[in-house]
Symmetry: C2
Amino acid sequence: MKDVLNYCAAHQDEYLEQLKDFLRIPSISTSEEAKADIAKAASFVAAQLKGAGMNSVAIHPTKGHPVVYGEWLGAKGAPTVLIYGHYDVQPPDPLDLWKTPPFEPTIRDGKIFARGSADDKGQAFIHMKVVEAFMKTRGALPVNVKFIVEGEEEIGSTNLADFVKKNKKMLACDVILISDTHMMGVKQPSITYGLRGLTYLEMTVTAAKGDMHSGTFGGGVANPIQVLAEILTACKDPKTGKIKIPGFYDDVVVMTKKERAELAKLPHSDAKWAKDIGATKVHGEKGFTTVERTGTRPTFEINGIWGGHTGAGVKTVLPAKASAKVSMRLVANQNPMKIAKLFMDYVKKVTPDTVKCEVKLYDNNGHPALTPIDSAGMRAAAAAIKAVYKKDPFFTREGGSIPVVADFQQLLGSEAVLLGFGLPDDNLHAPNEKFDIIQFSNGMKTAACFLDEFAKIKA
Amino acid sequence: MKDVLNYCAAHQDEYLEQLKDFLRIPSISTSEEAKADIAKAASFVAAQLKGAGMNSVAIHPTKGHPVVYGEWLGAKGAPTVLIYGHYDVQPPDPLDLWKTPPFEPTIRDGKIFARGSADDKGQAFIHMKVVEAFMKTRGALPVNVKFIVEGEEEIGSTNLADFVKKNKKMLACDVILISDTHMMGVKQPSITYGLRGLTYLEMTVTAAKGDMHSGTFGGGVANPIQVLAEILTACKDPKTGKIKIPGFYDDVVVMTKKERAELAKLPHSDAKWAKDIGATKVHGEKGFTTVERTGTRPTFEINGIWGGHTGAGVKTVLPAKASAKVSMRLVANQNPMKIAKLFMDYVKKVTPDTVKCEVKLYDNNGHPALTPIDSAGMRAAAAAIKAVYKKDPFFTREGGSIPVVADFQQLLGSEAVLLGFGLPDDNLHAPNEKFDIIQFSNGMKTAACFLDEFAKIKA
């Protein structure tokens, strides 16, 4: 592997400059105004795949943002690896908290700061360069490779399942390789074997037809913010942290004693974890550790709330309505549509007759996923990690959601390997997102070794 | 009185055009950007007072927005009426709900639509024109008159008490006449004998140092919006509508049976009241009627809330913090500073140790006020109403706050008469604020008669 690894190392600075070009494109999938940038990012990916020696490179339109595909099928008799990534990014707000602008990639302290640096442009880019390095040095890859890079991951991969369904043959593979997660530390390599699912809703409580004077009407009619607060409070027990939506936990696969024991081995300190995020202390569901709460247990989180006067100064208004965005992270075998329904039913039940409460379900639903640790792909990933990091990886469950993982597994019948090179402090979805250059460098090595190892295991 | 009343009627159209000029000035006291408009509105008032024949007209600077003063003291031996009004207005947001722009006054269906039309430019303007009419027709007023028109009413009259303290002699009077309230209906004239006080606070719950990914961290740390909702829920019992802040009701003057019986006589229909504001039904403190709830009982209202992602689409963020603006309307003898302290102490008590909650008290505090119905000013007001509306007024307590009323009463030792010409559906502090032209017209007549009646009563 020295030829490929040396090639990667020799070209790293050049690759980083190319990655910066990628990161300069504000391809925010949630923004209506970003369509041109989405197209620009898709073209960038297509050009990279062509430059890496991929064939059949094409930008496939969907009802939403396009999917970029490319393949190299010259490894006769060898297995096929489908590499997934996404070129879209989260919105960068609040902008004023970024030390350097989100779309002006800046290297500081060995880290590249930019929206999308870790999630997922930087990680997806690793695979494009690894494949390029193989092709430039050997003119061939140890396995057949297919790339699928989408532009709707941050809005729930709305159209990807449909695309996969329609292109099952084109996407047929032996393993799906995804680098869109993080490992525990630069010296604590880990592989993710579970992901949480997601259901995302928005609710609006309306108490009157228009805003009112809080003096004239205050005390005589329901305050919609007060009622919204009551409904949200009714969703979670403040003391036990248990979600109070009836039936919410019914389908959760109970962790085995063995799994809990394995998770307990993971190096983790509640005090350090809380300190790192600036919390006074950890908080969550009673009876579970922080590792379990964030990886193996479902959640109910309020992602946003607004109503009434939110500007500077005072306004003695009694608002007509108030809204909140809420999402629930789900674990195997919870079904996002079923959970959304349970939530809606519960809200209906706890909403008083003094107001109206409308609940809207977003398209951003994703099934949770679990991959067996002893599968071929996981073993290849573990061997690659060992080769590069000189130690065995930990196996973890990650709290985030990549809805397509469950879809891929179900539709293509292949296992998914989540070989992530991010780190826990990457500030995903937050200001000052970054990607460590050492992880970019080790990531290229590991990704290269994975292709090699997978070819061997499957041989 | 025919000479004066006829003069007012003959010049009404001209006065309305002048009022429109006044309403075109966006003198929003809460806005940092509106200083020039505040100055413009103060100049407008000063010019009106000069035009009406007032002497010693001056724009007095304060630490905040200026106070406009003018006087006519030519009625030797007659009593002195201090007329108070304010030239500042509430912010107009949400702008998209206005049928015509807030600062482009538009007459529709016998109503003038504009921010400040009823609160309080239109009402304050009535007195300027009445005084002008007396001077133009008679060259004299039946009483001595002093005008004080401020620019900080909507932000709690922050600097007015100080101004009054420093100018007690200049402002000395027998009665304070204020038109900044409403009556029950065009054919149901009423006079306000009580006002609620106010204390206004803002609270921010912080759970972490920055926004987090709801997948990676969700379930392991407190959600600040959830905690804020819990704290707000803890402030008011959803079932009884009772405010749960310990000691909150301690100083409330208990209504007498007689007062409750008088209030029960007021024409009021819960069904109609709810329908008018577009509520499904009334809601408030158990054991009290809607008239009592909105006029005689203290309230706890959330005026605004915000946190996390409040824009379009989804963002799977676990926010670092969330905020709310809350205010409490107070009744005699509650003290706004004491109540603010009780609230702060209670918030401290109910805030869990997983977050920090900071509470900030705004300057907008006001004492509640009550004026005896049988005082000279009230009798003059009732007689003026009877002369114009041909029926006796109802006596009501209004839920809104004019903090200066209690200050005036205390500092100047004079009674205050709240002779308001607004109507309940004026949309104060809300989109599509309006002032009925019939009320402008009847208001001029009533204000003119008041000066006449007060001179007679005090003779």
